[in-house]
Amino acid sequence: MTATATTPTNTPNQWPAFVAVYRLLLRSVATPGRLIAIGALAAVSIFTAVVVHISNPYDSLGAATGYANANLSTLVPVAVLVFGAATLGDLADDGSLVYLWLRPVPARVHVLAAWAATVTICIPIVGAPVILATALIEPDSSLLAGTVVGGLVAISAYSALFVMGGIRFRRALPWGLVYILIWEGFVASAGQTAAKLAIRSYIRSILAEYTGQSIKLAEFTLASGILVPLGVTVVALAYASRRLARTDIA
C-alpha cells in the first residue's frame, strides 16, 4: 500500500454515504433518555385525550380540532427540537463532527441525513401518538386527514429548522425553546403579520381547512399551509448545508 501524491479529481458516490450517516445519526440521537422523555409526553397527550373523550364534550369535533392544534403547536415542535438539534449539534459540541466533515462528502449529505433521521424518529414517537389522541376524541375522517397532513408538514419543517439550529447555535435547545414558546406561542399569536412568520400558523390553517373549524389566526389557504412550511424546509436545509460547509470544526 503506497500513497500516490496526485491531485484527486472526483468524489465518491454519495448515496452510500447518506445511508451510513443517516444510520449513525439515528442511533446516536435516539438515546434512551430522549425516547423516554418524549415518549412520556406523548403518553400524557394520549391519556388527556382519553379523559376528554370520557367527559363527552358538547362539540367533540371542535374539541378534537383544538386538541390536535395544541399538540401540533407544542408537543410536536418540542419533540422535534429535542432530536433535531441534537443530530449534528451534539457532534459539533463534542468534537466528533470532524469524522464526518473531513471526508469527500458534501455538507448537504450530512444535513439531509440529519433531517431524515429526525423525521424518522419523530413520526412514530410523536406524530403517531398525536393522531391517536385526536382519533380518541373524535374519529372524524377530515380531522384525521388534517392531523396527518399537518403533522407530517410540521415534522418536516420543524426538523429542518432545528437541524439548522443545531449547526448554527452552540446551545440550540434553549434557543429552540425560545422560538417555540416565546416567538410562536406568544409574539406570533399577537397578530396576523407576526403569524406569517410562525410555522404553527400554517399548520393550524391546514387543520382548519380540512375540518372547516374556526381556529384563531388560521388565515392561510390549504396550499399555502402546506407549501410555505415545505419551502421553509428547503430553505433551512440549504442554509444549514452552507453553514456546515463553512463552519469551524473543533
Partner: protein, 320 residues
Amino acid sequence: MTTTLGIAAHTTPIVEVNGVSKWFGDVVSVSDVSFSLGVGVTALLGPNGAGKSTLLRMLCGLTPPDQGTIRVLGADPRTDLPVRGRIGIVPQQEAVFEAFDAFSFVRLAAILNGVSDPDLVARQALATVELDPADRRKITAYSKGMRQRVKVAQALVNDPVLLVLDEPLTGLDPRQRGHMIELFARLGAQGRCVLVSSHVLDEVERFGSRVLVVAQGRLAATGDFRAIRNLMDDRPHQIRVRTDKPRDLAAALLEKGGVLGVRIEAAGPGRPASVVVDTTEAPRFRRTVAVLARDVNATLWEVTPLDDDLESVFRYLVQP
C-alpha cells in the same frame, strides 16, 4: 527568527503553507507561518498554546486561515472535497461515535471515503493498529489507548497522502507507543506526508530528525533538528570528553582548543573522569580534540555532545 534547512527527500511538496495567520478575537494563534512538506515523517513541536492544533486544523481545512494560503496536493483543503479524501486525521479530542463499536466506526470512515470494500478495509485498518475487528464492544468500553488506536485506524482507511496526527501517542502503553512510532515511520516511507504533533520529545526523536517548531504562534525552526542545533551559534555546545587524563586535556583545550570553558567531572562508580567543554565552534573542536589528546599523551574514550538532542534544541528555540 526562522531557521530553515533543506529537507531531504522532498521533491514535490504535498503541503504548502504560505504566510498563514490565524487569530481568535485579539489573540494571535498563528502568525505568518510558511513552510512546505513532502513525503516522510515530520514532527510538529511546540509548548502548550503555541498554535500547533490550530495549524493542524488549518492544514486539514477544518478552519480557514485569516491570512495566507494553504494547499494540499495543490488544492485548498477547506473547499476542495476530493482533496479531503486524501487526508487522514487523528484529532486530539477523545470523542468518537459512542453508539458504535470499533469496526462500525472504522467502516463508516471507509464508506464516507468511497472505499469499494469498506468491510475489508476496516478489518485491515484495525489489524494494523492491533485491534480485533470482531470485538463488538462499544468504543466507550475501550481503554484510552485502545480508543486512540481506533482513531488511528479510521485515519488509514482512505490510504491518505497526508496523515495528520495530533498527540497520537497519548494514553498508549510503551509497547504500543513503539508500535505506533514504527507504523508512522513505515507510512512515511511508503510515500505519505506524515505530520505528528507531540509533546513527548524523546519519542518524537524516534519518528525521525525532521521537525517543525512552533513557539508563540510563529514558526521557530524547520528542518533536521541536529542541523538546526549547529546553526545556533549564540548557544554554546556542550561536549563531554571521557579520557584518562582529564586535567591535562582540560588545560590543553583551554590553551589551544577554542573553547569557552571546561569543567572536570569526577570519576564515579564504573565511570571515568571526564571533561565537559562549552564551545561555540563544535566542528573545530572535534577536529582539534584528538590532536590535543595526542599532544598530552591522553587516551580518548568517548566524545559525546550533550545538548544536540531534540529536547535541548526545543528548549533553546522556545525559551526567550
